[in-house]
Symmetry: C2
Subunit: 420 residues, 2 copies
């Protein structure tokens, strides 16, 4: 697991900060109206555009971060550049670097005074369904325990294309959507605000290296720049009516919230773990090629409008049946070109226990067993004003790698979605 | 329908050219390696970057077409600019314009010596399933005539998100994909080249104006810049195994071919027609708000490697149950943001007759009734070396509006998709 790498930025040396020098995630903050690439160190962000301007960061072409699209340009440069920039930043911020502290200090800003932007430009968004406990729970509710998993599920990481335009950064409000719904006791559908609006706890893998044909699991693992927390907001009632035969569409298009920071695969490397045991061997092109999941503790809190947060889920990314590398390899089998900035949602991450379920659908068992919050309120699905916050932590020896919060507040539906 | 607008470019005055002055589609050609915005007039293309440089095209900001992304920038400028540029080009190229012929002639290039690029940058790609004959045919094959249409089909334009990175321009070869397949007589799937590779005849609507929340059908119609021909290549055997429960994924990700020209909604305006009669009224937000389909004759030819083309399908875009405006309006119901350059596939356009079916799946009835080509060969699905060419024509009084061919040749699968 390694141990804490000490920094001259004192707040980065605590065992609890999500941003020790071991982390060095990438994101963008708003410098005025300008999305500006940055990293996080302790309680501060480090403006990478400013660092480049000091002349102290000359790796690669040395001007990646001068533009809003800089994080994408940096990702496209490939793994050698990722490592070189990480090594350079580690050196600049390490406790033993006495020389450059003054110039670098001028590039720091207090994180709590900073507004974060989307950490990168999302090219396309794909969402998977690769958590076995989640798929089993949902399948049991809809098809019974005998037929819980579809026949393909243990052979192929099931996924569908989502909507990149609806991906937003933590802190963005989410408006309860209208949609076409049909209740079982009506013959025809109606157009109404969703009544079964939900969260889904996921991780997102960010593709760094583009590809133009089938790539192996090993190549796919190397193409992934890093990971974000991801909340795949879902309107269950819209989904139930629309999803046959071509899958979820508007049910998943209102918003998908991600954390403000991409934690690099390199930072997470000490936390690699294997996928779970399998009852069917995967086909060769999907076989595990080393530990490609990560031991990341995950939790979700629900904060009602006027109340303290209740932790509703505690689980771990290692519960997934397929790694992001396997998902990405599968994504390319057809020859599908992948691009820098493609985002792959893991699928909902539920653990085996009831308290480890990653969605309200599972936690309230389809709404039949409402959850009681710490303030005494109950929840079958989300209510207006609820704030959902996803957190993640990989815990090393005396240090923690975090992602920053992945939070969003549910606003009430529009009274009337169309101008009259 | 209007009548032919005569141009001083003589070849544009024939009743048969797809590119009379009435058309003025938008696309990009390769000027060396540079994607350069252009329009088509008779047998020529007109380089719009060059026209802007002459100072003769000063509408809007006057420099839309100086960059490869110019068609997208122009689309984003909105309907007033679209009309103004169209009016300016019509004036410059009209027979009555004697003054500027020399300067403009220097901007013309013979189309048959020109290589076309993607006409615009695709932001995201959505594919619908909005042709009733197609949905009925496919449903009958898979679920029987009694349950052919899913319960939602007559109430909602069913769609799914496709993969923008796989959209290619006419003339691009398409490589037969590998994929996970399971035959009914095997217990487990295998990884093999697709054996049931197919085309789908569609139209694509190109979103010009972005939106950030629900928009009405009327607003959606006004947001559509124009239309392309679209071949949604489909691996039926990959789809059969993967599509439950979240819809098609790798089956549709190999390639989607579009025509080199976007024909504007304004050029197609004289050909507007109503959607067909409905047995269920649509909900208010999806109701027809005027004629928003188009009378466009469509056909598909299949050219085997060593043989003459056989016309395998003749149909019409007016066969659709939902217009692109209705699809786009539905797409925004959840609040899903739409962006300039979003591409919406209509769904396969089949007519009521057997000869009007828009895919091999329907033409060969799931492979059971192979088609006989003019050279005596038979086809259940596509074979390596087959070239598929989609054509479209809106026929006015003494003129024709066309899209240029939408063609692609199927290459054999890779012998071994992974380096060993």
């Amino acid at each position: 697991m390694g141990s804490l790498i000490k920094s001259w930025v004192e707040s980065a040396n605590s065992a609890e900060t999500p941003f020790p020098l071991n982390n060095l995630p990438f994101g963008r903050y708003f410098d005025g109206a300008v999305k500006t690439p940055c990293t996080a160190i302790g309680d501060d962000i480090l403006d990478l555009r400013a660092v480049e301007k000091t002349g102290l960061l000359t790796v690669g072409r040395g001007d990646f971060f001068q533009h809003a699209g800089g994080v994408n340009a940096f990702m496209e440069a490939g793994p050698e550049t990722w490592s070189a920039v990480r090594a350079a930043l580690t050196k600049l911020l390490s406790e033993s670097n006495f020389e450059k502290r003054e110039a670098l200090s001028a590039c720091l800003r207090p994180m709590n005074e900073t507004r974060m932007a989307m950490p990168f430009d999302v090219s396309e968004f794909t969402d998977f369904y690769a958590g076995r406990h989640h798929a089993t729970n949902v399948g049991t509710m809809f098809r019974g325990a005998e037929n819980a998993l579809p026949p393909n599920w243990l052979h192929i990481p099931i996924g569908y294309n989502g909507r990149a335009s609806s991906v937003v950064v933590s802190g963005s409000d989410v408006r309860r959507p209208w949609g076409q719904l049909k209740s079982p006791d009506h013959d025809v559908p109606a157009f109404l605000p969703s009544r079964r609006f939900d969260f889904e706890l996921e991780m997102g893998a960010v593709v760094g290296m583009p590809s133009d044909g089938p790539i192996s699991v090993t190549e796919a693992d190397a193409a992934i720049f890093g990971y974000v927390l991801l909340n795949d907001w879902s309107a269950r009632d819209i989904q139930a009516w629309e999803y046959q035969p071509l899958g979820p569409f508007q049910a998943k298009a209102t918003a998908t919230t991600i954390s403000p920071w991409i934690v690099t695969a390199e930072a997470l490397d000490p936390f690699r773990v294997d996928t779970p045991a399998r009852e069917f061997a995967l086909l060769d092109h999907l076989k595990d090629a080393g530990p490609m999941l990560y031991d990341i503790e995950l939790d979700v809190t629900l904060s009602p409008k006027n109340g303290a947060p209740t932790t509703v889920t505690r689980t771990n990314y290692r519960e997934m049946y397929y790694s992001a590398a396997q998902q990405l390899a599968h994504h390319t089998t057809s020859g599908c070109p992948m691009r820098t900035g493609d985002l792959l949602g893991s699928g909902t991450i539920s653990g085996p226990e009831k308290s480890a379920r990653g969605s309200m659908l599972e936690l309230s068992w389809g709404g039949k067993e409402p959850l009681t919050l710490d303030n005494g309120e109950t929840r079958a699905f989300l209510e207006d004003g609820d704030t959902l916050t996803l957190s993640g932590a990989a815990r090393g020896d005396g240090f923690t790698i975090g992602f920053g919060p992945c939070a969003g507040t549910l606003l009430p539906a529009l009274n009337e979605p169309y101008a009259v």
